[in-house]
Symmetry: C2
Subunit: 273 residues, 2 copies
């Protein structure tokens, strides 16, 4: 998917919501466990109920890998279902991969070509030749971890390198990579005030912002510091939406929570005009 | 597997060789492609021919993921084959994972419990709460990326933080993590002279050293700077061993290359006495 297409979908749906499909058999409604593929059944119901309210879905691959072959099949069915029924929706494999060139190309093929995801999250620690293989794919997007929303972000990401925090160094350096136009960045919402500095370095890039809701980030602050002329934000909510209820009405309850966020986003988009 | 067990195997086999199972259908002998599961057939033949020469096998998960479900099945069969027939061999899932706590636990379960690997490689960028969930598993080992052998390592890993290179900061900080005894580290052999400094910070830890052979690192230098009283080294070779030949004799050729490395290691072990 092109970035232009993503932007036009945001305007059309008045939403820059990304829904995290972190599907956990211990948290989904128990009646679904009778289904042959409970993970996919859950995802399909969530997608059917929320696709008009969001512009992106983000399965975290760890949840699927934890179930072995069964999990990978469910992930494959989920992305196939999305690509077939909602090709206008941006898909993110939250895989946080990163390896040397040869191996990165393998990962890129797996996620971009085999599964057909529009984008993948990548850890920057191994540098240029671990990232560029992903950037080589046209109309595919590489979402680099910059500043994450967890406590451990302070261990290294915020440590000063050449007088700037490591995550700023990551942003700066990544702009020198080949096909840097295909980059987006993960920036945790729990540190919204950092967004102002980040926007100085990557004024045009899309930022994937987790941590709104369950992790305590404020949507208003994120928009205030992070929005650019193209909106430039994908705000993710996972647990706050998909686990809204453990009953048979889980999908409609998820839709209600998604709609609440979408309405707040609509307000933010209005105030931009 | 306990570290003591690994050390005793090194002494018994007079080898600290790790063989990287980076199995690529484009590089394996063409006659194997007729097999129902060519990836596993290749791995099994390599294992059967080399298991007495090495103490560890390290499949890089990217190669398996690239083949989707088929690849994951082959990986599952490979680790099951190893655990059943060669339980004395240390197994490494070269997965380079790393995510927030909740999700890391998922990955840990997938690799340690579902697959039954002894260890996994982890990227440190997300810090403490992305690493500690792996460390919580008894007799399982978390191999943290410190200094990798690729060009991109200079982007961030060697950048100075508080006056020391980031990879040293990673080593120092990781020692403060809960159950830090379960840590090992990836240190590329192409930078053997860095090993002296690294040993000052982590004198007792095992180091997984890729980059000997194909990537140009010298075994002698690695041993000179990196060996400790418990040996403390696992030296990996992938392509140089498994792709020794594309003919029907590929496994015996692989064994010859593995043996050449094992003999060099035996010399190094002797000179320790």
């Amino acid at each position: 998917m092109t970035t232009e297409h993503l932007i036009s979908e945001i305007h059309k749906k008045q939403s820059f919501l990304c829904i995290g499909l972190d599907t956990d058999l211990e948290k989904i409604p128990p009646h679904l466990l009778e289904e042959e593929d409970a993970i996919f059944a859950f995802n399909k119901a969530i997608i059917d109920a929320t696709h008009h309210l969001c512009v992106a879905y983000k399965p975290n691959t760890a949840f699927y890998e934890a179930y072995g072959i069964k999990g990978w099949k469910a992930l494959g069915k989920t992305i196939a279902y999305l690509n077939e029924n909602h090709p206008e929706i941006f898909t993110i494999a939250d895989a946080k991969r990163g390896d040397i060139g040869n191996t990165s190309t393998r990962y890129a093929k797996a996620f971009f070509e085999e599964f057909g995801f529009d984008s993948i999250t990548i850890a920057p620690y191994m540098g240029k030749d671990s990232v560029e293989p992903f950037l080589a794919f046209e109309n595919k997007h590489t979402i680099l971890l910059a500043l994450t929303s967890n406590e451990g972000a302070f261990d290294f990401q915020t440590q000063k390198v050449d007088g700037v925090p490591l995550y700023e160094k990551v942003l700066q350096t990544s702009l020198t990579y080949k096909n840097a136009d295909n980059l987006m960045y993960v920036v945790g919402a729990t540190k919204a005030s950092y967004l102002a500095e980040i926007r100085k370095i990557v004024p045009k890039s899309f930022l994937l912002v987790p941590g709104v809701g369950a992790q305590g980030g404020s949507l208003k602050e994120v928009c205030h510091f992070g929005m650019n002329q193209d909106i430039g934000l994908l705000v993710n909510s996972s647990r706050g939406i998909i686990y809204a209820s453990k009953n048979r009405d889980f999908a409609s309850q998820a839709a209600l929570n998604a709609e609440a966020l979408q309405r707040q986003m609509q307000e933010e988009l209005k105030s931009m005009d």
